[in-house]
């Protein structure tokens, strides 16, 4: 059996993380690799892309080889402690305590850790086999800042709690995350100056500071090149300020911005971004996912980056690229 892959899709709010996640799920399923999509936002936009109204707390089938699940912070806490404490009466008491709830709500890293711990259950179910095993697990993760925190949690935890079951789990997670052949981060960006800058910052942090494998960034909503260079000159020179010509100027400006930001990403990261086109339909639906899957699948799923030696917990930080 092929080694399971864990894919984290992130980027600023509104850049199209959900669509990229869904398209990657579709691409995995097309390759007959059992895939699970994890939705962390509670707006149901992922479900809608597949014509569902909501997703449940247990994996449910979207189509052949493709399941999806919604994870909720509170459920994660409850299920983890129920499992940890084994006895229902014990966990019930703990979970009904205000102090415990205040503590888990405010303490940093708790839900992050539990989310990753849950992912581990899905790709390394172990001997108990309580969960189904997936070959590809894709998480539609929160915005970049949170993801950096999320993916940094096991390292911090492993340093704070070196021994015991918690420390062991943290160590296993750290191994999973820093294994370039198993975990990949997909950064979604837009052809806008500030978004691209944030993408570059996140890429550097995730790759350099956290030692993760980051795929070629995805540049979403790239305007098509509808006009030739000569067209562009004529449109720019025209005195016409009616809506039809102004619309052409808009497209030309948007196209220029896309080319400029694409070059900016390529220069900064030494990798060309994966470009996804701006769509002009009414609302994004399942029909739009196919072409996106065709573009994303080969880069993210078919490509296997060079092997890395996973680092030990609490080891020194490695600078530069991983």
């Amino acid at each position: 059996m092929r080694q399971p892959r864990f894919i984290v899709v992130t980027g600023k709010g509104g850049v199209g993380k959900t669509v990229v996640t869904a398209a990657l799920g579709l691409a995995a399923a097309q390759r007959r690799r059992r895939a699970l999509i994890i939705e962390t936002a509670s707006d149901g936009s992922l479900a809608r892309l597949f014509g569902r109204s909501t997703l449940g707390p247990a994996p449910s089938r979207l189509q052949a080889e493709l399941d999806a699940v919604h994870v909720d912070a509170r459920d994660l806490v409850e299920q983890y402690f129920a499992r940890l404490l084994r006895f229902r009466w014990l966990s019930d008491r703990l979970l009904s305590s205000n102090t415990f709830n205040a503590l888990t709500a405010a303490a940093p890293g708790v839900t992050e850790f539990l989310l990753l711990e849950r992912v581990l259950q899905w790709i390394e179910p172990g001997l108990t086999g309580r969960h189904q095993r997936y070959e590809v697990v894709i998480v539609d993760a929160p915005a970049t800042g949170h993801v950096i925190k999320l993916l940094g949690t096991p390292r911090r935890l492993a340093a704070m709690v070196p021994a015991g079951p918690l420390g062991t789990t943290a160590g296993r997670l750290l191994q999973l995350l820093t294994d370039h052949q198993r975990t990949h981060v997909v950064l979604v960006s837009l052809p806008e100056d500030m978004v691209v800058r944030e993408t570059i910052e996140a890429y550097t942090t995730l790759r350099g500071d956290l030692g993760l494998h980051v795929c070629r960034p995805v540049l979403n909503r790239v305007f098509p090149s509808r006009f030739t260079a000569e067209d562009g000159q004529r449109i720019a020179a025209s005195p016409d300020t009616g809506p039809v010509v102004e619309a052409a100027r808009f497209t030309l400006a948007a196209r220029r911005e896309a080319e400029r930001t694409s070059a900016q990403l390529r220069r900064a990261l030494d990798e060309a971004p994966i470009e996804l086109p701006q769509l002009f339909g009414d609302e994004l639906g399942a029909a739009d996912l196919g072409p996106f899957a065709d573009v994303l699948g080969p880069v993210v799923l078919d490509h296997l980056p060079p092997r890395t030696t996973p680092r030990r917990a609490g080891g020194p930080r490695r600078g530069g690229s991983g």
Binding site: T99, F100, D193, A248, F280
Partner: protein
């Protein structure tokens, strides 16, 4: 637009919305518009990426107010450093200097203070209080952190207090209190629970935590008083919340969710500001509009126009749905043609579109 002028007559404007909708730029442009209307104005950002300084073309933006001059007006801008603000707060509310030192030196505090859920948000509210009272600004614009939920932002003070004032202290001193258990079965439960938790975390973590929470015990009163003041400030008639969004259906849904949360907590909501709106008007006779152009460019112009009309309709529908869902008015729709400003001149252009002087 007149409603933007009404907004700028408030004393405190809080911009909320998800990340990536131009919230920081909007906040900076509102500050400029306020200054242009003769107000002594400040804008504060808690955005960890400090993108405000990009928007303002500033290399340095710190916790101290920094004067931004645009043409013949000026306003102050500052960025919040959560760690710095948290340390300052501890020093202010701790009963003695020794108590403050003890907290600041705690390993867990050092690890957690910047990341304790809601601490950035809480500190923003803190700083706000200081700005309005100490610096006597007439208008303060707040660019909130890109929280997923308003509750993270506004419940932050309460959440910190809940944690600190809850029986976390007694929990760690007398574990039985965690479950409120005085009975024998209660004590057995707690004994079993603690065994698991200690094995799970290792002992040191629990000890550090006990130390941390004990040190905080004396601070809760100071926190509570402050949080109440901030709560009053945020509900005052001179305060307005603005939902900043893009016309993307997904971000509009999030804006509607923000609105529900704000309304549920009875915060004063002024309306919606939409950025990057595509809005091309429909021409009556398209063929006549391109009569002066020859093929193949004429065909391309029409094809492109048709595509942008579809985008315009999509944006219009999304914003109409958002207004229907929230009952909040659209204060401004900034056209999409403007790239995010990276200079002060760009910011002035943006402000002109947002709030024509």
């Amino acid at each position: 637009m007149q409603s933007i002028d009404a907004l700028l007559r408030k004393r405190l404007v809080v911009c909320v919305g998800c990340g990536g909708v131009g919230k920081t730029t909007t906040a900076a442009a509102l500050a400029l518009a306020g200054a242009q209307r003769g107000k002594r104005t400040a804008v504060i950002t808690v955005d960890p990426a400090r993108r405000l300084k990009d928007a303002l073309g500033l290399a340095t933006l710190s916790v101290e107010p920094h004067r931004v001059v645009v043409g013949d007006v000026h306003f102050d801008a500052l960025a919040l450093d959560t760690k710095h603000a948290f340390d300052a707060l501890i020093q202010r509310v701790a009963p003695t200097r020794a108590a403050a030192q003890r907290i600041l030196a705690n390993r867990l505090y050092q690890e957690l203070s910047t990341e304790l859920a809601g601490s950035a948000e809480y500190m923003a509210m803190e700083k706000l209080h200081e700005l309005l009272h100490l610096h006597r600004y007439q208008l303060v614009i707040v660019d909130t952190p890109p929280s997923a939920h308003v509750r993270d932002l506004l419940a932050a003070p309460n959440r910190l207090i809940n944690l600190l004032a809850s029986r976390a202290v007694s929990l760690l001193q007398a574990p039985a209190s965690l479950l409120g258990a005085g009975s024998i079965t209660g004590r057995v439960t707690v004994g079993a629970l603690l065994k698991v938790l200690q094995r799970w975390t290792g002992l040191d973590l629990l000890r550090d935590l006990a130390d941390f929470v004990t040190a905080f015990e004396h601070l809760t009163e100071g926190f509570t008083v402050r949080a109440e003041e901030i709560g009053r400030l945020l509900h005052a008639p001179s305060t307005a919340f603005v939902l900043v969004t893009s016309p993307d259906p997904h971000t509009a849904d999030l804006a509607a969710a923000f609105h529900r949360e704000l309304a549920a907590s009875k915060f004063p909501i002024a309306g919606i500001i939409a950025n990057r709106v595509v809005a091309f008007p429909r021409v009556r006779d398209q063929q006549a509009a391109v009569a002066g152009w020859d093929e193949p460019l004429r065909g391309r112009l029409l094809e492109n126009y048709a595509a942008l009309l579809r985008l315009s309709r999509r944006d219009r529908q999304t914003l109409r749905h958002l207004q229907d869902a929230t009952g909040a008015p659209l204060l401004a729709a900034v056209p999409a043609i403007t790239a995010a400003p990276t200079s002060l001149a760009g910011l002035a252009d943006f402000a002109q579109l947002l709030a024509p002087a």
